[in-house]
């Protein structure tokens, strides 16, 4: 067995980490938090030039045609860097949706520009507080789109959105591609817990929309897209968890209390050991998730849910206990601990919360056992 990334993939990791250290330092994250720019457009340009946005897009659509293992490595590093980019919206969700459900012409229309990073896509599902289901979806599709999607991650900067609308056919939902720069679409920026990732409400009033996939297959499609995205979200969470642990460790080693480093107290040592444990469980689950995603294995639903739950739990714990390890300075605006704590929550409610994925995990295991 070879349950490791290849030499080339590890090389890619080194390059990615080095690049992000130079171009997406914590200072850059702070600029995104405090500035009025919805995202780091310059960084996005560079990231696209390096081909990250085109990683898994087939060469026929001007992509690199690399595997999901390469994308996993990139997700891991983007998470570690808390990158202020619409990467997950555009790459894990919008691109995946078109790859999975798009017609030949839709692929030809959207994929090359997604690959080049020239356009940004996102995924619009939520309409209100609580779990969105076909039963409570209110956005209407058909020849035109009508309804309000709120919040939509990167909705204010995206050029198009994959919109989940109600359908009276099949599984109760259909997917549409909506040009967000067209008439009948109103973008309204909304404030969030993590200003380093912009969110907006999208109001569709007789807006033009193009069906993506069959009518009445949108709900199952959304589940499949989320299963694939869950692995990549989990990698971002795992990368962030490791960065938070390193931040805590560095501070604990340098901070003295009662004549010795706080890192020499079991209260801190065991706290950091617990972070390490949760991070390791998350990372190892992500390895399996990456394998399942990459090979389109039957285990994907289980692997995705398991990675996702582990990633959510690890990042919440690491980000809050990193603050705690920093003591008084930890909860100041001036310190950077807050970045992880904000991002951890953003990543945990996007594409469905911990409780949803715990339930999905057992459902997937039940299906596996039944098979």
């Amino acid at each position: 067995m070879n349950f490791e990334f290849s030499e080339e993939q590890n090389l890619l990791r080194e390059q990615a980490r080095g690049f992000l250290q130079d171009n997406c330092s914590l200072k850059a994250v702070r600029v995104a938090l405090e500035g009025d720019q919805p995202f780091n457009a310059e960084l996005w340009k560079k990231v696209a030039e390096m081909g990250w946005t085109s990683t898994v897009i087939p060469e026929e659509y001007d992509g690199l045609g690399l595997s999901y293992l390469e994308l996993s490595v990139i997700a891991d590093e983007l998470g570690r860097a808390i990158a202020p980019l619409p990467f997950s919206s555009s790459v894990y969700l919008a691109t995946e949706a078109i790859l999975a459900c798009g017609s030949q012409s839709q692929k030809e229309t959207w994929l090359p520009r997604l690959a080049s990073g020239e356009i940004i896509g996102t995924f619009a599902l939520a309409e209100a507080q609580g779990q969105t289901t076909p039963a409570n979806l209110s956005t209407q599709g058909g020849d035109s789109l009508n309804g309000v999607k709120i919040p939509v991650a990167d909705g204010d900067i995206a050029d198009f959105a994959i919109v989940v609308a109600k359908s009276d056919k099949g599984d109760g939902a259909s997917l549409y591609i909506a040009d967000l720069n067209a008439d009948g679409v109103e973008k309204q920026k909304v404030q969030t817990l993590d200003p380093t990732r912009s969110h907006a409400s999208l109001t569709f009033s007789d807006a033009g929309a193009e069906l993506l996939g069959e009518e009445g297959t949108g709900w199952q499609a959304t589940q499949n897209i989320f299963n694939r995205a869950a692995v990549l979200f989990a990698w971002e969470q795992t990368g962030g968890s490791d960065a938070a642990l390193e931040m805590a460790k560095e501070y604990a080693l340098g901070r003295f209390a009662f004549g010795r480093p706080i890192a020499s107290y079991q209260a801190i040592k065991h706290k950091l050991a617990n972070m390490y444990v949760k991070n390791t469980l998350a990372r190892s689950n992500c390895y399996f998730g990456a394998w399942a995603l990459n090979t389109d294995a039957a285990e994907l639903p289980v692997a995705a849910a398991s990675s996702r739950v582990a990633g959510i739990q690890a990042y919440y714990f690491a980000s809050k206990e990193n603050i705690q390890t920093h003591g008084g300075m930890g909860f100041t605006w001036e310190f950077d601990c807050q970045f992880h704590y904000r991002r951890a929550k953003l990543l945990s409610v996007n594409i469905g919360s911990e409780a949803q994925w715990q339930d999905k995990l057992i459902t997937a295991v039940e299906k596996q056992n039944a098979a």
Binding site: Q129, L193, F256, R260, A267, K320, E334, V349
Partner: protein, 404 residues
């Protein structure tokens, strides 16, 4: 075991309620006043009628009341709509008890009545950047110059410094003495030349604390409390009154609000409250909140019997703060993706849990971290031994402060 007042308690409650009803500031009284002016108006009114700091002796502006009467007054005042007088808390709750114990009769006469009436506001300047949990590691130094001391250094986490008239502070008067023996305790005029105050912005966006810088600030030796080198002992008087006064936090973002949210939002196309996993979590939080509430009733009963509540009250913060953090995080998850939305300045319930999520990390740290609280319970309640101390019995100047 009952929840009824004793005869005297009932009488006092009635008296207090009667006075409050008659004297609560009317809208017209408060019209045009800012919160600080409103607070001072109300506090003065209470003081003039003998309803301020009622546990203090009459001669210092109090009423000579007992602890349970204070609790009853608080309960009754909680029932009517009065200006928020929180800014007097540190002065009345921490500075005043210290003055009572350590100040001269003259000083008590001069300062305590104005503390009670809210005419003068006090703040507390103990913490320093290098200190944190290790309070006694403070370095701000005071050098003797005749009848005065010259103060240089920096304090941090000072609430209300910007509007305070006076401050209590601990200073290092002998760096060569062992850590706890080189300290002295003073109070000073916050308007003294050489004091610079900078607000500290928290990750929640709020700025409840300040940094206070001292540059050649002169303090009269007459404003020293206790002997030179006795500062730590005096500080303990102040600190004894701090931790009890800090609650579990989370404000309204508790079980009740979370349950209401769970009745509103949906999981699997039915109210989330029907979800067994949601119910189990809510149940655990209910149990914790109830446990703290009834622990409070038990110490109140002890109070009314004249007993002094001890370090066991540390559990309020130790249980409450992490509970509130997990509850807020879970409530946000219940909202699913909409949970990420937060309008920091809005106070509505739509923003309650998000605000709590961002402010509770501070609660787990301010006034003693979770870890310090656990130490307090282990050492002072259970009587377990301290960790080995590498900072004792050597000159403070030789205590390691970094890997260098």
């Amino acid at each position: 075991m009952d929840f009824n007042d004793s005869a005297e308690e009932a009488k006092f409650r009635q008296e207090a309620a009667k006075w409050l009803e008659a004297n609560v500031p009317t809208a017209s009284e408060l019209k045009g006043l800012d919160p600080m002016q409103q607070a001072k108006l109300w506090q003065k009114k209470k003081a003039d009628a003998g309803w301020a700091c009622i546990r203090w002796p009459k001669e210092y502006g109090g009423r000579g009341a007992n602890a349970i009467e204070q609790v009853i007054l608080n309960q009754e005042e909680g029932k009517v709509d009065t200006p928020n007088t929180g800014m007097f808390g540190i002065g009345q709750g921490m500075a005043a008890p210290t003055m009572m114990t350590w100040a001269t009769e003259e000083q008590k006469q001069r300062f305590l009545p104005k503390l009670a009436s809210g005419e003068e506001i006090w703040c507390q300047l103990f913490s320093e950047p290098a200190g944190g949990s290790d309070l006694a590691a403070l370095r701000t130094k005071a050098e003797r110059d005749g009848d005065e001391w010259i103060v240089n250094g920096q304090k941090i986490w000072t609430s209300g410094a910007q509007y305070s008239d006076w401050g209590i502070l601990v200073l290092r008067t002998d760096p060569e003495a062992p850590k706890h023996q080189g300290l002295s305790y003073f109070f000073l005029d916050m308007k003294s030349p050489g004091i610079e105050i900078k607000p500290i912005k928290q990750m929640s966006g709020a700025s409840g604390f300040n940094e206070v810088y001292f540059t050649d600030v002169r303090v009269s030796d007459a404003q020293r409390l206790g002997e030179v080198g006795q500062g730590w002992q005096v500080a303990l008087t102040t600190l004894m009154n701090e931790r009890a006064s800090i609650g579990g936090g989370g404000g309204n973002a508790g079980f009740k609000t979370a349950m209401a949210l769970a009745e509103k939002v949906q999981i699997d196309d039915q109210p989330a409250i029907k979800d067994k996993a949601v119910r189990a979590k809510l149940a655990n939080w209910y149990v914790q909140e109830a446990g703290l509430k009834y622990t409070g009733y038990r110490s109140m009963t002890a109070l009314s019997k004249g007993e002094i509540p001890g370090p066991e009250n540390s559990i309020g913060k130790l249980v409450g703060a992490p509970k509130s953090q997990d509850l807020a995080s879970f409530a946000i998850d219940l909202m699913e993706q909409a949970g990420i939305m937060w309008t920091p300045d809005a106070e509505d319930t739509e923003n309650l849990f998000q605000g709590a999520y961002m402010s509770i990390p501070g609660l787990r740290i301010a006034g003693g971290t979770d870890e310090i609280m656990a130490n307090i319970i282990a050492e002072r309640v259970l009587g377990l031994p301290q960790e080995p101390r590498l900072d004792k019995g050597i000159p403070f100047s030789e205590v390691p402060t970094s890997n260098k």
